[in-house]
């Protein structure tokens, strides 16, 4: 066990945990942040995505010790039902959710994309999300939501 200092959603947090624990379990169980989801634990699906140092990363495979003092943003850090981030709002406006289990990954990955490329083309969005799996088949709506959030014609 070790004390690890984290910076999550703009707040300093200290956890006492096995430093090998993947960041995902710490976010979910120690910090009670339910946005990031366990999908595979193998970096194959994207459900666990969070943003670290400006990149969407897979928290299921990152030991918590590697996240020490690096800024981590989770879905909760973008907005809440009271005050949604424009991406979250766009997903609601487009009703771009079925079960929603994959949606954390979709929003966090597209957030990182839009931060770097504010007006991506369809092909660029598809490429950015190619490693994010959605079993419900919500893909076309997700694409529209991201277009909408980027202020482009849907």
């Amino acid at each position: 066990m070790a004390r690890i200092s984290l910076k999550v959603n703009g707040k300093a947090r200290v956890v006492d945990t096995d430093p090998e624990t993947p960041l995902l379990y710490v976010l979910r169980n120690d910090l009670q942040l339910n946005g990031p989801k366990f999908g595979c634990g193998l970096a194959q699906c994207g459900a666990c995505a969070v943003i670290m140092d400006g990149n969407a990363i897979r928290s299921c495979q990152l030991p918590v010790s590697s996240a020490q003092n690096r800024p981590v943003t989770t879905l909760e850090g973008l907005g809440s039902t009271k005050k949604m981030h424009r991406l979250q709002q766009a997903f609601v406006d487009e009703q771009a959710v079925q079960c929603g289990y994959c949606i954390n990954g979709m929003i966090m990955t597209s957030k990182a994309l839009l931060d770097k490329n504010p007006k991506p083309t369809d092909a660029q969005i598809k490429e950015a999300l190619a490693g994010n799996l959605c079993r419900c088949g919500t893909h076309t709506r997700i694409l529209r939501a991201i277009k909408r959030a980027s202020g482009q014609k849907v």
Binding site: F38, V92, V97, L143
Partner: protein, 764 residues
């Protein structure tokens, strides 16, 4: 036998974990205003009490109690629309309480596209009964007769004298109705208050509109509490260690193998079931991985490859034959036929493939248990847990939290059983989340199917005989057979399992002599095997439709006629079927001609294909446009047009969302999906070995929704996935003149088919 590593007391001392006892069973009536007047003697809600269905709060909120659950389709919001409509209240006033077995009548599981079709009318009638009672009360209060009253958003007023008014909340807010209604039958067949007159659909204001899903804001912000997000005070984490291969049992367990992992509470063994419990999720995961178990030598062997599997299906005596259609005289039809055709089609095991694996929390205390989980049938989970723990059903409370989209997989709530066994052993609430490898390996699969079709035509090319046989496994994991942990602790199946459906085998076409049967081939083995089977979205229909709709195309090809025309000839008396087919063809700009398309030069061949289906009286037709790379065999689905008729649409956007999802999932199943296995079990254990469609594979979608306000509503959760593979198969033939009779259409299969086909359309 149970192996306790530490006594519970020692463990508690060691970890300082706090076991909090809490009220397992808040009175079922706690959401109701008053008493438990609406309970049956066994403790379940009385469906004949209006109070079991809905309650009006002091603030005018209408709380609706349902065993139907949200699984990502919008069902729960749509049910709210139906109640809002009948009560004349704004849909925002409706609060849905869903999937708590102590707070709802059992309306049947959320499966088979039956929720809107069956629970819709139950709520329509219950709400109409409530409205009738509210008008009666208002009439007395306002000293007029009920026919002089009108309702606007829960406020009853006198027609022509709007000042005279009283709200629902003032009439019964916070109180029980104490009204008896009729309710006969059980589950989704229950008929509720049919004697009450409901609204004329012509007057609908809320039903038929695209109200937004209630739960989406919470889902996109991380505030929604999925089953995976449930945390109970004092909760521990468990993992089950499944056998590595079929038909083995633990011979010995090396307890020392996990001594080095801190925080492990207990190793649990019951029969062939082995699990670990720890105070953190990570410790449970590591312990389950590290635990050294010696397994017995397997005795049963599975078919080692698809050829063995399909031979097994074909050559094993069926345990049951289910007839879907038998009419006319098949023998006579074939002997009169001018030409006879025959073909067989193969469909592999496929996965539900939930993105989030099975997960549940259980708290077993003495002879009572509380389960937090995401089953499609909370009452079904209640039953399986009661059987497993050998306690009365009413001693089990299931509290629903949505899980990952499950497409039938959560009809079988395996995670709840695992959690219950571990909780009982350790004496604390336990959360169990399956690993990805366990979910891929042990989820019950959609059965493999072998479909054989024979048909004869008369001198005009008309079908006069049709003989369709579907060979497949029943669902070994189903409502009538024990689930995985139950099998491992020693329960034995006493039933081959429910059948995998019978629809889609060509019954949609009018053929004078027709027989369609499903042969159920035994799939129970002495031990639990990873190739378990269960209902996968539109169970069995995609495979049967693939066979029947490709076969119809094969005949049309031989007759050199347009495939839409040829279908239409056999749909003369099927108005909705032919309109649905036409709608898709029109939308796709279908040009009449026989298949295949004129040979193209170049490496990429383009083709179009069509297919039609009917499921539980809903219709769907699909037109697929594909590109086939003749060198690599790669198939790209460029565009899918889908027409869809499910009667009156309660919420058109939900239907649209379901059709989009069904089509995309259907493309994935047609192009990519096949569970691989060998004699030891499943070898598709992650998303690399069981690939599904990616964003870069998504076709353009164009959907035509046919609304039928004069009809009852039917389900939209399944029909549109059924014809997708058939349409793509027909489109591949149209493009390259090679027929694929096995799903998925992998590049290797396309190349093999191209090689086997006399250069019909293969010039490059």
């Amino acid at each position: 036998m149970k192996t306790s590593e530490l006594s519970r007391r020692e463990f508690l001392k060691g970890t300082g974990a706090l076991i909090v006892s809490f009220n397992l069973f808040p009175a079922a009536s706690d959401l109701f205003a008053q008493s438990s007047a609406n309970l049956l003697p066994n403790g379940d809600l009385d469906p004949q009490s209006l109070d079991s269905w809905l309650a009006i709060g002091a603030d005018g909120t209408v709380t609706v109690f349902t065993s139907k659950v949200e699984i990502g389709t919008g069902t729960v919001t749509a049910l709210a629309q139906i109640v809002a409509e009948e009560l004349d209240v704004s849909v925002n006033r409706i609060k849905m309480v869903s999937g708590d077995t102590t707070k709802s009548v059992e309306q049947g599981s959320t499966v088979g596209s039956r929720s809107i079709e069956r629970a819709g009318p139950q709520f329509k009638q219950a709400a109409a009964a409530a409205r009738q009672e509210l008008l009666k009360l208002a009439a007395a209060r306002l000293a007029v007769t009920p026919d002089k009253l009108t309702v606007n958003d829960g406020v009853v007023s006198v027609i022509g004298d709007a000042g005279k008014k009283v709200s629902y909340a003032q009439l019964v807010g916070g109180k029980l109705f104490h009204v008896r209604i009729t309710a006969t039958g059980t589950g989704w067949d229950m008929k509720v208050a049919p004697e009450v007159k409901a609204k004329d659909p012509k007057d609908y204001k809320v039903v038929g509109t695209s109200v937004k899903r209630f739960e989406l804001p919470a889902k996109v912000t991380g505030e929604y509490v999925y089953a995976h997000d449930v945390r109970i005070p004092g909760m521990l984490h468990g993992r089950v260690v499944r056998p590595p291969v079929v038909n083995t049992e633990p011979v010995s367990i090396e307890q020392d193998s996990i001594k080095h992992i801190p925080g492990v509470a207990m190793i649990v063994r019951e029969g062939k079931f082995v699990g670990v419990v720890a105070n953190t999720e990570w410790a449970a995961i590591k312990a389950a991985e590290a635990l050294k178990i010696t397994w017995s030598k397997p005795t049963t062997k599975l078919p080692a490859n698809p050829d063995e599997l399909f031979a097994y299906l074909k050559n094993t005596k069926p345990v049951r034959t289910q007839k879907a259609v038998e009419k006319g005289d098949l023998g006579a039809g074939f002997s009169q036929g001018k030409k006879t055709y025959q073909a067989s089609y193969r469909w592999p095991f496929q996965m539900h493939g939930m993105i989030g694996p099975s997960c549940a929390v259980a708290d077993v205390k003495g002879d009572r248990a509380t389960i937090w989980s995401g089953p499609q049938g909370p009452f079904r989970t209640r039953g399986t847990i009661a059987t497993l723990l050998k306690i009365p059903e009413q001693n089990v409370r299931v509290i629903y939290h949505e899980a990952s989209g499950s497409y039938g997989r959560m009809s079988t709530d395996d995670g709840a059983e695992d959690a219950a066994l571990l909780s009982r052993a350790v004496g604390a609430p336990v959360r169990v989340q399956w690993s990805r490898q366990d979910e891929h390996g042990w989820e019950p699969k959609g059965p493999a199917q072998l479909d054989e079709v024979k048909a004869a035509i008369d001198g005009d090319g008309k079908l006069i005989a049709w003989d369709f046989v579907d060979y497949g496994q029943p669902w070994t994991a189903s409502g009538v057979t024990p689930l995985l942990a139950s099998l491992q602790v020693g329960f034995k199946p006493n039933n081959p399992g429910q059948g995998n459906g019978t629809q889609g085998g060509g019954e949609i076409y009018e053929v004078a002599n027709q027989k369609i049967v499903a042969e159920h081939i035994n799939w129970h083995f002495p031990e639990p095997i990873p190739l378990r089977t269960s209902n996968l979205r539109a169970p069995g229909d995609p495979a049967r439709c693939f066979a029947s709709e490709c076969f119809v195309d094969e005949i049309a090809v031989d007759l050199r006629v347009d495939p839409v025309d040829y279908r239409m000839r056999h749909l003369a008396n099927n108005k909705r079927g032919s309109e649905c087919l036409k709608a898709a063809a029109d939308k796709a700009g279908w040009q009449k001609r026989p298949s295949p398309a004129p040979a193209s030069s170049g490496n990429i061949a383009r083709g179009r294909g069509i297919a039609l289906t009917q499921r539980a009286n809903a219709y769907c037709a699909i037109v697929a446009d594909v590109e086939v790379n003749k060198t690599t065999g790669a198939v790209a689905v460029k565009k899918v047009v889908s027409s869809h008729d499910c009667g009156l649409m309660v919420n058109p956007d939900f239907v649209q969302n379901q059709v989009e999802g069904n089509v995309i999932q259907g493309v994935s199943r047609a192009l990519f999906e096949e569970v691989t296995f060998d004699a030891n079990g499943v070898t598709s254990l992650d998303w690399n070995s069981y690939p599904i469609l990616k964003f870069t594979d998504v076709p353009e979608l164009d959907i035509v929704l046919i609304n039928r306000p004069e009809m009852a509503s039917l389900g939209a959760g399944e029909p549109s996935t059924i014809p997708v593979a058939a349409a793509i198969g027909n489109a591949i033939f149209d493009a390259v003149g090679a027929r694929l009779r096995e799903v998925p259409f992998t590049p290797a299969r396309v190349l093999t088919a191209l090689k086997a086909t006399p250069a019909a359309n293969q010039k490059s």
